[in-house]
């Protein structure tokens, strides 16, 4: 069975074509700058064939049409005809409270998704455009939606509610939802598998550290807490997002800088985080280089980034009554050995005996990085959100 996984952003589409027989990737690629100058598609086939095509791509429908065209083309294609695609799985950012698991996409489901658009005005509309494009171009192919928020729907009210008037929850759905659900689910399942343990008996803390970053407390296989909230701004310090911030400080800033809602949104989403503190870049590699060259603000940014993760690990261990395994994943979690080492430094009191030597220089592989007799295990598990979407889609359509 062949499954196409689609992840539509506001001006981009990422895609992967899976052969579920062995979960191999037949082709993957990206459509960039949709509706803008200089749009292009990059496609990479499993045999190494690579192509970059430039031209006008006015909307998501057209972008997906070209992707399908490339996938069935003689020269760069991976399949002979569109009928070979058995199902399409979509990443959907926000499922609100309506979706606590992946779903088969029907008209009713699309209507429900439209109802939660307000909660993710930047992310959900392009996701819906992707679904509409597939419905339009290959109408008979079953589709599934996999939500970033669904995995965290198991959180209890005491962890998902904000301490603000209750009516704001009932009227507008203001609560914590959490994101990166597919990633937290994948790496927690995978680490249990790698450790040969039953996930329903484990307390796992998963640290998804990418440009966006979140951390989750997974007890007995279900998410009981996570650091992102109503929006992906809450929680850890990120590339350009501030993470946790005193709301009082925010209203004070708005008053002092005399700025409105739009500029405030840009301030906390794009000018803050590692970029805002270091003044160097939002890319951790650049900031690490600057820090090594003695840039004090870059050094501060790294210390803050690591300290925030440490605090969350501590609090989630408390929330679960202990922790059996801590997992690092995402671009930074998988590759930045210094970040991992600095986060894990000082967790001996918790029973985590981190293997600093083994950790040093390790990149993107499934490996345990705590010492053999460590009570709390520490692992690197590269994430694979696309595979989660493909697996869920397979389960739903078969």
């Amino acid at each position: 069975m062949k499954i196409l996984v689609i992840n539509c952003g506001s001006s981009s589409i990422k895609y992967q074509l899976f052969d579920m027989k062995d979960e191999s990737v037949l082709a993957k690629g990206i459509v960039e700058k949709i509706g803008l100058n200089g749009s292009f598609i990059k496609n990479e086939r499993d045999d190494g064939d690579k192509i970059k095509l430039e031209g006008n791509i006015y909307d998501h429908n057209q972008g997906i049409e070209y992707v399908l065209g490339i996938l069935i083309s003689e020269k760069h294609g991976s399949i002979k005809k569109l009928e070979e695609i058995d199902a399409v799985g979509h990443r959907v950012v926000h499922g609100g409270e309506k979706f606590n698991s992946s779903v088969s996409i029907t008209k009713e489901v699309v209507a429900k998704m439209e109802e939660v658009v307000e909660l993710a005005p930047l992310h959900n509309p392009p996701n819906l455009k992707g679904i509409a494009a597939i419905t339009n171009l290959i109408p008979n192919v079953p589709q599934a939606g996999v939500f970033d928020t669904a995995f965290h729907q198991s959180m209890k009210p005491e962890s998902y509610m904000y301490a603000i008037p209750y009516s704001l929850y009932t009227e507008h759905g203001i609560r914590r939802y959490g994101f990166h659900g597919s990633s937290h689910r994948f790496v927690s399942d995978r680490v249990a598998e790698l450790m040969n343990k039953d996930i329903s008996k484990l307390k796992i803390i998963t640290c998804h550290l990418g440009n966006g970053a979140s951390i989750a407390a997974i007890k007995n296989g279900v998410s009981i807490d996570t650091s992102m909230g109503l929006t992906p701004v809450e929680g850890l310090m990120m590339g350009t997002r501030c993470g946790d911030l005193d709301i009082g400080a925010l209203t004070y800033i708005m008053n002092k800088e005399d700025i409105g809602l739009n500029a405030t949104n840009t301030l906390i989403n794009k000018h803050s985080g590692v970029l805002g503190i270091s003044g160097v870049s939002s890319d951790m590699r650049d900031v690490e280089d600057a820090a090594n060259d003695g840039n004090e603000r870059a050094q501060l940014a790294l210390r803050m980034y690591e300290y925030r993760i440490k605090k969350y690990i501590g609090s989630y261990a408390a929330a679960m009554g202990g922790v059996d395994v801590i997992v690092f994943t995402g671009g930074i979690g998988e590759n930045a050995s210094d970040t991992r080492a600095n986060v894990m430094n000082g967790f001996e009191f918790l029973g985590a005996d981190f293997d600093f030597e083994k950790n040093d220089g390790l990149r993107a592989e499934e490996v345990e990085i705590s010492k053999e007799d460590s009570k709390v295990k520490v692992w690197i598990v590269p994430t694979n959100e696309e595979l989660v979407i493909a697996r869920d889609t397979l389960e739903i359509v078969s």
């Binding site: 100058n37 095509l53 006015y58 057209q62 700025i259 739009n262 840009t266």
Partner: protein, 322 residues
Amino acid sequence: MKELLEDYALNKSLKSKTGNIKAGLVGCGSMGQEIAILISKSGIDLTIIEVSEEKVANSLKQIGLQIDQVISHWGMTTGDKRAILSRITATTDFNELADCNVVIEAINTKKWVPNQPMRKAVFKKIEEVVCEDCIIISNASTVVISDLSGGLKNPCRAIGVHFISPALNSKIIEINRCRNTSKETLEFVRRFVKMIGKETINVYGSPGNISTRLIVPMINEACELLMEGVSTVDQIDKTMKFGYGMQRGPFTMADSIGLDKLTKWMEGLYNEYGDTKYKSSPLIRRMVRAGMLGKKSGEGFYLYKDDRKIEKTGSIFRLGQR
């Protein structure tokens, strides 16, 4: 041979053209620059026409500076700036407008003159180079659109669209159609306004739209209060700002519009409606003569230093001593 993306289109392609808009802008003074940033920020390619190479260069420079200003107030990022500037080309050659779907006239006239011959000439010049279905827009707020479109071969394509400064922040745009404006033109412009992230306010054939007709008498009346010695500039502004929840008081607003531009609005409205409530206050006329044009000249009802507003004490009396 380079491969073409189009070769990979599926046969049943809908070849959607939505979003395929290229815009033109004739005249790029301070308001034109705001419009340019707003349009290109929305992912639309833009060609700017100015009268001389010097003005072309200056427009681009000022657009860069305006964006820097927004960035310093956290409203954009340097990445946004690069994207915006990559979408803008500026020239003196009207022929460069040939492939535009929509062209906006935003020229600066020194004085208000009846019948607007300069704007009319620009409208005609635009029509000579653009394609048949290109929409022609005027940003002038107090003109009669049917007057401007009168000289066009196809007057149905003309419409008034009033961008309110600061164009980036203002949530609405007034669309002023006249009796000639076709349904297609109106529909296109509504779509265009939505694309650039604004809400449409529909106005039918009224010079001054809604915004200018309401703001002009208020500023005039504020001048009356000041001249009568009822209160100070700052106190009058505060009353409207905090008493009625306006973002800016009438004097701050007048300074940011520019008193010269305001005078043109007032003359336009007075000429059209003949009502003295639109006739420019003698105080404003004196200030314009004295070169006190508001924020742009560094002095108006307030003093401006390093982009900061400083309250003047007894400005009305100081004016008398000059």
